[in-house]
């Protein structure tokens, strides 16, 4: 591809610590292209509102780029990325309580398809699952998501979240209990 010199050509210094592998343009682009969706969904599962997902996905990657030099290449990248998403979501939660922004409820048009009832039931099931997930406290939810939904092992989770392995196991266990309890409560309430 022919690249025409633009109005402003600048030399980008290494976006990392000295003596560390620099984050190249290609690597930064590839990181977002490959894992942007994953971070987006991680933030969703951590309870970030839809209208804030774009901002927080951006913030997460900015933080990831800043800390790129600390990444251990021998470890899987997604749990590491999840750690940053968790911090961003956690900080956002602290601030979100002070906001007065109220988003309009989504309008669902009437569905005329013959399988509309099945689709509706599936949506209700997903809503129940998400409600039960939201009932889990954030730090436990993080371990739960990484293990039960993303398939990471507990040692990987512990390394990514910088917590002891025993703590990770403990949080996973408690999260499972919280999830099961929430499912039961919500099912009874709905029934």
């Amino acid at each position: 591809m022919t690249q025409t010199p633009g109005l402003l050509e600048v030399e980008l210094p290494p976006f990392a610590h000295a003596n560390a592998a620099p984050l190249t343009r290609a690597r930064a682009s590839e990181l977002f292209a490959t894992h942007g969706n994953y971070v987006w969904n991680a933030l969703r599962r951590l309870g970030v509102r839809r209208e804030d997902l774009e901002d927080l996905t951006h913030d997460t990657f900015v933080t990831v780029y800043k800390h790129w030099a600390s990444f251990d290449a021998e470890r899987p990248v997604r749990p590491w990325l999840f750690g940053f998403a968790l911090r961003v979501a956690s900080d956002h939660r602290r601030l979100a309580r002070h906001r007065l922004e109220v988003s309009a409820p989504e309008h669902e048009p009437h569905d005329e398809r013959p399988d509309a009832a099945d689709v509706l039931l599936q949506k209700e099931r997903e809503a129940l699952a998400h409600a039960a997930l939201s009932a889990i406290e954030l730090s436990r939810r993080a371990v739960f998501i990484l293990h039960e939904l993303d398939g990471s092992t507990v040692p990987e989770i512990a390394a990514a979240l910088q917590i002891p392995v025993a703590t990770a196991y403990s949080r996973l266990r408690l999260a499972r209990e919280d999830f099961a309890g929430a499912v039961k409560r919500l099912s009874l309430r709905a029934g």
Binding site: M1, Q3, G6, L7, L8, E9, V10, L12, H17, N19, A20, P22, T24, R25, A26, R27, S29, E30, F32, A33, T34, G36, N37, N41, E54, F61, V62, H67, S70, A73, V77, W80, G83, L86, R87, S90, R97, D118, L121, Q122, E126, L128, A129, L133, L138, A142, E148, L149, L161, Q162, A166, T167, R173, L174, R176, F179, V183, K184, S187, G191
Partner: protein, 246 residues
Amino acid sequence: MSTPREEASVESLLGSLRGDVEEMRTFARRRIAARLTLSVLAQVFAPALVPSFFSNGFFRSKGFAVGLALPLGMVLGASGYAVLQDHHLATKPRELTAAIALKLPPSVPNGATLSPPPPVPIEVAAPVPAPPAVSPPLVRPHSPHAPALRDTLIPNRELSQLEKARTLLTEGQVTATLAQVRKHVISYPHSALEQERQALYVKALVAADRMIEARVRAAAFVKRFPNSPLRGSVEKAVAVDSVMVR
């Protein structure tokens, strides 16, 4: 199809969550990519080159973003988001006509395609001493109103004993696995890892071809822990005469 009003299986709801993966919309992806470019510039260059409001979060404001779009569009043009040369987003290659071209260390060919990039091992340019670790900070309690939460820590020894049993099973040492699990029961009769221990024991019995006993224990597991996330794997282990790793 069961309704949510019926008692929902935890495992089936987990399956529902696993399948609920949303795809970022194209416009959202492009906007984020463009903002990442500007954020990088704001972090790296002198404020004189880039207005400070790019770095202080003001850019986040939706109202400002809309107001900024017009003058920004004159500078960056339609290729603004392609500054990162994210060919994954563009429909076909474009020339940078009026854009900020980032000249980085030539470690990657200019023509390198980025779409759709599979996960690749992270490349390190040269062997370097490990920098001080800057890890994502631990999650602190995020709300002063939340009840004080205390994790019940599982002692390392209790954990490592069960991990040893798991490793033995993976290596095919079935008899040793069963012995290790029995030892764990004696050492920690009221273990917090009861479910994991029981599930492991069932799988070890299957591996030992002790199917009748495995099925009895699996049934007891399901009765005792009906909502356990391990229920699915326990039921699956005894459903067929699958022989575990020997």
